[in-house]
Homo-oligomer: 420 residues x 2
Amino acid sequence: MRLLLGNILFSPRLGELTAIPRGALLLRDDGVLEDVLPAAPEGADAETVDYGDALILPSFVDMHLHAPQYPMLGMGMDLPLIDWLNTYTFKTEARFADEAFARRTYRRLAEELITGGTTRVCMFSSLHTDATLILMEELERAGVTGYVGKVNMDRNSGGDLNETTEESKRETLRWLDACDRFHFVKPILTPRFTPSCTDELMAWLGKLAEQRGLYVQSHLSENRGEIAWVKELHPDCAQYWETYAKYGLWKDHTVMAHCVWSDERERAAMREHGVTVAHCADSNINICSGVAPVRTLLDEGVSVTLGSDIAGGAMLAMSRVVTTSIRVSKLRCMKTDGRDGFLTVDEAFYLGTTAGHRWFGADGGFAKGKPLHAIVVDESGFPEPVRELTLRERFERCIYLMDKSAIRAVWSEGRRVAGA
Amino acid sequence: MRLLLGNILFSPRLGELTAIPRGALLLRDDGVLEDVLPAAPEGADAETVDYGDALILPSFVDMHLHAPQYPMLGMGMDLPLIDWLNTYTFKTEARFADEAFARRTYRRLAEELITGGTTRVCMFSSLHTDATLILMEELERAGVTGYVGKVNMDRNSGGDLNETTEESKRETLRWLDACDRFHFVKPILTPRFTPSCTDELMAWLGKLAEQRGLYVQSHLSENRGEIAWVKELHPDCAQYWETYAKYGLWKDHTVMAHCVWSDERERAAMREHGVTVAHCADSNINICSGVAPVRTLLDEGVSVTLGSDIAGGAMLAMSRVVTTSIRVSKLRCMKTDGRDGFLTVDEAFYLGTTAGHRWFGADGGFAKGKPLHAIVVDESGFPEPVRELTLRERFERCIYLMDKSAIRAVWSEGRRVAGA
C-alpha cells in the first residue's frame, strides 16, 4: 500500500467542493485508490509520500483536442474559419504523413500535456494511420491515457489531406488491428464532421461502432454556416445531430465538441442518448463561433465536459481552459442579463476534472476503486497572502494562477508520471 | 554605442506591423535609441549584443493596476463587486500599513512585472505614504519605470482603510516631497474614484495638479451601479466624467480605467481633453462589469491603452492581457453581429505596447531619441512548426504563447534589466 499526504481537494458533484486539510489518499500497489482518509492512519504499513502543505487535486481531462494541430498553436487566430482551415489546419495535418515529424511533435505534445496536469484525453489525430499509432505510443509513454481517433474524412477535405472511402475503411481497420498493444490509450471512431464524410462512410462507421463496441467522437453545431451546410447535405435530417443518429453514431458515450448552437430539441437528444458535450470556450471565441449555452445544458441534465480544442483553442493547459470557461460564461451571463448564471470556479473545475473522469467510468472526484489521477500543486510561486487562507481560497487561487511551474507532481493511472 | 541584433518587430501605428528580419537597434551609451537599422552596419564601432534568430519587440506597458491587490491575485472572482471589495480588496490594501510586508510584496511584484516584459506602468498604490514610497523604490530597483499614485480616499472606504480629508492632504504632500529621489518612477495624483473622495478633497487635488503640473489617474464608468451612485453624489453633473472635470482633474494625460459604459458624449469629452482610456478586459469580465466599446473608442479617435487591473484582473502578464483583449473584443464583435470589428493581434499588440509608450512621450513602437524599452523572445519552447514561418506568423505565435520562460531578456530605460 502507499499513502499520499497533503491537502486534498476535489469536486464530487457539480457546484460542490470537498476540502480535506492534511488528508491521505490510500493507494493499492497497483495504483488503485483504496480510500480517501481525513488523516494519515497511525501505524499504517504503507510507503508514505508526504506532499506537506501542497494541494492534491484530481488531474485535468481534455475531452476535445486535435493533436496534429499542435504545431500551429496560436497561429491564424484572426482568420475566418474557412481561411484558417485552408491556410493552416489542413496543411498542418497533412505534414503528419512524415513519421519522424509526427514522432518529434507528439512526444513534445504528450510531455506538455503531462506537465500541465492533463492525464486523460479524448483526442483527434489526423487521417494518417501510422502517425496515429505513433501518437498513441507517445501518449502512453508519457503517461497520458484515454481515447485517440484516426480521423475519417473522404470528402470536402483540403489539398494534401485526402483519403478515398475505400482507403478510409481499409486504414481504419488496419489502425484498429494495431491498437491491441496499448494498455491505457484506446481507439475511438472519429468521423471528422458530417461535411467531411460520405453517407457510405458514415454508415460503415456506425456499423463498425456497433460490431466492435467502439465509442464515437465528432463535432456538432459549432457555427451557423456549418449548420446550414449540413442541412444542404442532409435535407432529410431536421437537425445536425440526426446526421449522426441515422448512422448509429449518436449513442451512449458519443462525444460532440462545441454544441454552441444546439437548441432545445438537439439538447434533449443529447440527454436522451447519453451524448456528452465537449465545451471548448477558447476555441469558440478565437474562431468567433459563438458562446455555448453551458448553463442551459447543465440545467437540462446534459453531460458537459471541457476541451482545449487546440489549435482553434490557443491554450493547451487545462487550468487556463477552466478559467477561460468561467470568463466566457460571465460574458454569456451579462449578455442574458443574468438569466444564464456564470460558472463558479467550483463548477468549472468540476467540468474540467470530475465530469471528464466520469466519462471514463471514474466518478466522484477521487474515484475509489479506480487508478489514481491527480496533480500536486505547490503555491510557493504565488504572491504572499495578507492572512492565512482557507483551503477553499487556496484552491481558487491555484485554479487561476497555476502554470506548469506550480505543478509539483502528476499521477496518472496510479503511477507518478511527472515531478517528485 | 551598442548594437542589438535580432528580428525586430513593432507596431508603429494602430493595425500596422513592421518586421525587420535580422535588423539592428543602435543605442547610445546612455541607452537612447539612435536608430533602427535594416541590418548590422559594417565595421561599426559598437559593442554588439547578438540575439540571433530571436524576436525583439517593444516591452509592454500596463496602464492600470493596483499594486496592493497583488496578494489577492486570483481570489474572490465569483463574488459580486461590493462583496469582493469588502471581503478582499479593502482588507488586503489595509495590510500595507506594514512596511515589511509592503517591501516583500512589492519586491516580488516588481520582479514579476519585469520578467513578464512590462517595463512601464501607470499604477495605483494604497493610501499609505510609506508603502507607496517602498513601492516606488522597488519598481526603480527592478527596472520598472512610470507613474505611481498614493491613493486618496476620504469617504466611503472600508474598515481599516481610512483617511480623513486632512490626513489625505497632508500625506499627499509628504509623499510628493519624498518623490524627488526617484529617477524613473514619478508620482501621479490618484483619487480612487468619485465615491471615495469628498468634494473638498477633489477640489484640492485639482488645484495641486495644476500648481505642480501633475498627471491624474482614476476610474470611470466601470459598471452601472457605480454610475448611478456617482449621479446621486453629484446631481449637478450630467455625466460621471464631469465629476472629475469640475475639479480640474479631467485634462491632458489623465488616465481613466475601464470606461465600459461611456457613451458618445463621455467619449467625446475624452477625445477633446486628451484623456486616455486604460482598457482592462480581464477585470471587466471577472467582475462582470461589461465589455468596453474599444472599437468605437478607437474609431472616434480616443486614446486607448491596456491595463491588467490586478486584482480585478487575474493575470499580471501583459502578453496574456493582450490576447484576452482580443478574445473579449471577439465576443463584442459577435454580440454586435460584426458591427464592432474585433481587435486583430496587431491592433491589440499596438494597444499593449506602442499606445502605452506614446502616453510616456515615446511614439512609433521603437522610439528614436528615447531610451530603449524592449523584450527579446525565444521561441525554442514552442511547438515545431510544419514549415518555415514568416516573421509575422512568428510574432502572432509569440503573442499567444509567450510566458516568462520565453522572455530571454528585458531592456528598460536603455538598460538590460533581466536576462542576458
